[in-house]
Amino acid sequence: MDFELTDAQKRLQEEITSFCLDGHNQEIVSDLLAEGDPYDAHSWLLFRRMAEKGWISLNWPTEYGGLGYTPEEISIFHETMAYYRMPMTGLILTSLVGSVIAYFGSDELKAEFLPRAARGELLFCLLYTEPDAGSDLASLTTRAVEDGDHYIINGVKIFTSLGHEAHYGLLAARTDPDVKKTAGISLFMVPLDAEGVQVNPIYTMGSGQVNEEVFTDARVHKRFMVGEKNNGWFVLTMALGLERGSISGVAAQGWRYHDELLEEVRASGLDSSALTVQKLARMETELEVSGLLNSRLNSLISAGRIPLAEAAMTKLYSSEAILRMAGDGVDILGLPGLLELNSPEAPLGGFPEYLYQVATMVTVGAGSSEIMRRIIAKSALSLPV
């Protein structure tokens, strides 16, 4: 066992920190914060700066621009960026879709998408979830019907982060309705400005926006299929696993919140009663444990294991922890904790009310807590659930 970062990892952390604390980058972050949804907003300028560092492609195979980082180093990247409130949604999505293309796409698709995406010229989103297919994703009903060199897409996707900014979405659609539900799904890269694709905004708590995409006889060329026909469920399962790398960012957002709360309690002579101390201590413990679960996951992956239950535990624990601490933070601050983001007299710049609203998505997105518990119950405890 070894609980310390290596010297190389510490240097990586310093490099990322200095990027985050760079004056220009901090200004961009401040501007996004002023607009009201700092976590999910997208800045093309910052996105290109991250691309220059090679960070969009950091977890791709090295021949496509990957940086050869270990799982632990990828976590260090996400943690540090999250602590400094860099808007990461665009990078996480583009990086993830890029990995799927790199691992499963045809050479033609790789050449078409990967170099441009790595340079920060393309933004991708995920088109998985449907109005009636959330946790039970395999029951999706969006159809892709072959028609000559094309597929014709009909259906509705929903809750798409950055759907209104992205150039392409990775779409999961049913290509064979006559087999069991996981066996007839295929994936496509769909241009969101194509004819027959309509992107509608959905506004969410915390000044956020996700989107709904309505496909009406939208035509997508066959070469945009990612992986083999009807093998989409397998690819999706792998892709959901890749999404895990960014979980570590969630706990780091929590660390930032915790550190600011602690400063506030100390500096402002705020109530530091026994109860406040208990809450802060519990927060810190849960953040520490979130980090440890994530590092253990990285250790297991580095050792060549596919730790299904451990990944679910990490996601479950850290997302539940951040939701809890968002509420505890408001309790510690009292009613001023409800003052809106950016309002002048708000403690912590009004971040508590923002986090309290957006944290509700953390226990839902990328597999809800219930789905995580089910995975844990099945694979760690062999329960017939």
Partner: protein, 391 residues
């Protein structure tokens, strides 16, 4: 970072588990509840011969030492079977206080004796109703004639009735000092207390007990607190936390097995989410708590800063978890959970005392912002305010 156990540690765990399962079936645990001595000399002797009672002492080797880590692996395995032996107070707390505070030749004499299984040490950390830190002691040592005399009372001292020595702290000259008191000294009275978990607690009073200068373990630590005793408490907490992990693990394993086998509504009850999810949450918390405990142990082994704070954090988390796990365990067994014929009650009855020993969860969390506040690790620096924007 590498948060997995290495091959040698896995081998140790297998050996510990095999031994504990063989030597300490639940019948032994039950039998010891009514045994006058309350612990198995046989198991204790075998552990000594295997070299397991001085595992925690070989940590002078610096970088490569992993004495506390190995101790935790052993404590976990003992916790799984509820091994009735005075391990933590003797081989972890007592041995550590002596190693840190005693002078030769007493140091080697006591440590050798502990290693050989020849001596039992009881650790007296409480005076009132609960562990209240090391500054509020009322026990006191006063100069009298040519020597020093100890007066006062310690409560809920586990294993005092069989101990050769009692490890304690007392006030002296405005500070505190740690010492071993020979239980056979004149003026030491041990009155056993019967408790829920059949713990071998006793109220121990000291009336003009002669203090042997060779058995005093130094003072002059932080804030006048005995460094030897503080060190013993920190390590004691980590070992207790590890022992509770073992208990949680056993309860979770048994409850999951029961949930797979028990059929109601024509299905195994483990197929119901109300049961399965409760167990999944426990498994998750247990995995997290285990990493926290081993981080504390690793930090002690490597002599890194922050160990006391991590020990408090780990003790707090495992204390809460052990209560939650034993509660769930009994509940999932339903009526059978209350039956003495089933094993889960053993864990349920003992969890409270474990959770309260050396500071309950609230106490440990409060210490994170009191006694150990300055050990707080700063992971990232908060960014400075950028002109014209609220950060």
């Amino acid at each position: 970072m590498d948060l997995t156990f290495d091959e040698e540690q896995e081998m140790c765990r297998r050996a510990f588990r095999e031994f504990m399962e063989k030597e300490c079936p639940v019948e032994v645990v039950s039998e010891m509840e009514t045994d006058p001595r309350g612990f198995s000399r046989e198991i204790w002797g075998k552990m000594a011969r295997l070299g397991w009672l001085d595992l925690g002492m070989n940590d002078e080797s610096g970088e490569s030492g992993d004495a506390m880590t190995t101790t935790c692996i052993l404590a976990e395995e003992m916790g799984r079977v509820l091994a009735p032996v005075p391990y933590v107070s003797t081989a972890v707390m007592g041995a550590r206080a002596v190693a840190v505070g005693a002078e030769e030749p007493v140091r080697s004499r006591v440590l050798d004796s502990v290693g050989e299984g020849g001596c039992v040490i009881a650790a007296a950390s409480t005076e009132g109703s609960r562990f209240d830190g090391l500054r509020t002691m009322r026990c006191e040592v006063r100069k009298s004639g040519g020597g020093y005399l100890l007066n006062g009372e310690k409560t809920f001292v586990e294993w005092a009735h069989v101990a050769d020595y009692i490890l304690l702290t007392a006030r002296v000259n405005g500070g505190t000092t740690a010492m071993l008191v020979d239980r056979a000294e004149q003026g030491v009275t041990v009155r056993p207390l019967k408790t829920m978990g059949a713990e071998r607690f006793a109220r121990v009073s000291f009336e003009g007990v002669r203090v042997d200068p060779a058995l005093t373990l130094g003072n002059g630590g932080r804030g006048g607190v005995s460094a030897a005793f503080e060190d013993a408490v920190v390590r004691g907490r980590v070992a207790l936390a590890a022992r509770m992990l073992g208990g949680c693990d056993a309860v979770l394993e048994a409850a999951a097995k029961y949930a797979r086998e028990r059929v109601q509504f024509s299905k195994p009850i483990g197929s119901f989410q109300a049961i399965a999810f409760r167990l999944a949450d426990l498994a998750t918390d247990l995995a997290g708590a285990r990493l926290l405990v081993y981080k504390a142990a690793w930090t002690l082994d490597r002599g890194r800063p922050g160990a006391s704070r991590l020990a408090a954090m780990a003790k707090a988390m495992t204390s809460d978890l052990y209560l939650k796990a034993t509660d769930a365990g009994v509940h999932i067994y339903g009526g059978y959970g209350c039956m003495l014929e089933y094993d889960v009650h053993h864990y349920y009855r003992r969890a409270k005392a474990e959770a309260m020993a050396l500071g309950d969860a609230e106490r440990c969390r409060a210490e994170m912002f009191g006694a150990h506040a300055e050990e707080r690790a700063v992971r990232w620096a908060l960014p400075r305010q950028v002109e014209g924007a609220a950060l």
